[in-house]
Amino acid sequence: MASQNLQSVPAELSPEELEREQAGQAYFDRIISEDSRIEPRDWMPEAYRKTLLRQISQHAHSEIIGMQPEANWITRAPSLKRKAILMAKVQDEAGHGLYLYSAAETLGQSRDKMTTDLIAGKARYSSIFNYPAISWADMGAIGWLVDGAAICNQVPLCRASYGPYGRAMVRICKEESFHQRQGFEILLELSNGTPAQKQMAQDAVNRWYAPALMMFGPPDDDSPNSKQSMAWNIKRFSNDELRSRFVGMMVEQIKVLGLTLPDKDIRFNEETKKWEHGPLDWNEFKDVLAGKGPCNAQRLERRREAHDDGAWVREAAAEYARKQAEKEYAA
């Protein structure tokens, strides 16, 4: 809060300040037009900083909250190999949240503040994690559909104009290579298994398909911020464009799985050369985003509990460090 207030005061600029602002804007515009990268200490428009901070912190929160539906299944994974894979994956998500918080910190906001905002319900995260993961097949569907959609979103972000964000995304995308594959293989194994297993897989795909498509964000004509983000080279493709590409990939992959997508309206539009899908329930999307999803309260509470329960540990380590430094100073 404090940092934003201080930074957003244009108030009265002295002629020197005004000149510096104008020079900064010109430099920024040139960097963007050359498709080069903005680094933390560069001058940047306040709106650019705010947009990034919002997007990166939301992205970080999504990784952290997104750990929960899968972490619920670590203790119940049906084979030891799957248990190890799932554990490694959920652990990766903690790492990814951490990389992203670090990138957001370069914009002048502390991780502590972002966490406090999240717990207070003041920050958003991907609404898909407010749906429950109720069967083992959900581990497959989340990996295949949710991570698949995330990867489609994230790969272009590796070239985001803000350096630290792009670098974090490079690391994340590299690590995530296995996330979607392991999900696909869970579904494939189930689909080729007993009838009960196959049913479990189909049910999971049915439930996660639409929420996964909605992960790309509202349709382009209802996404007011997208245009500016694209002009700033933060976003590289529109929501609908990415969604359409994703649908195209899923259409092929579902065949390999021997399952079906719960969407009778999928078709390739020969004119536009784009994949089209059936209508999505954007009212539900907005409701879930607004906190009315099946798990919103539960997810935030779990995060709050971990943060609060850990406070004495963080304090102890900080206090120990302080005492050690004192000792060293005295010696």
Partner: protein, 120 residues
Amino acid sequence: MIPNDSPTSQARPGTPVVVAPAANEPHETPWSLWEVFVRSSRGLSHVHAGSLHAPDAAMALRNARDLYTRRNEGVSIWVVPADAISSSDPDSKGSFFESPQGKDYRHATYYTKSEGVKHL
């Protein structure tokens, strides 16, 4: 590669950046920020990998090991308190890095007459 993306170094002159929470918000002493450098194999330099939080250097090293070398990324790690890094001023990047421009006689390619002469 100097990591100029540490929050402590991102403040521009005249733009105070306050990271500490306001008085009415819950507050605890946060762990400090560290920059992590990883050597991917012997003979190569350490390269900036990212940042993390830790209460002290010992834990920063261990957190870096757990976080940034989960997939065999490194054989050696450095951690540096983010606020210990000084970086060049982005506002003066023009003049600061102007001098080497145009001094092509510092490069072997400048010397064309000797081209074709063996072992030179």
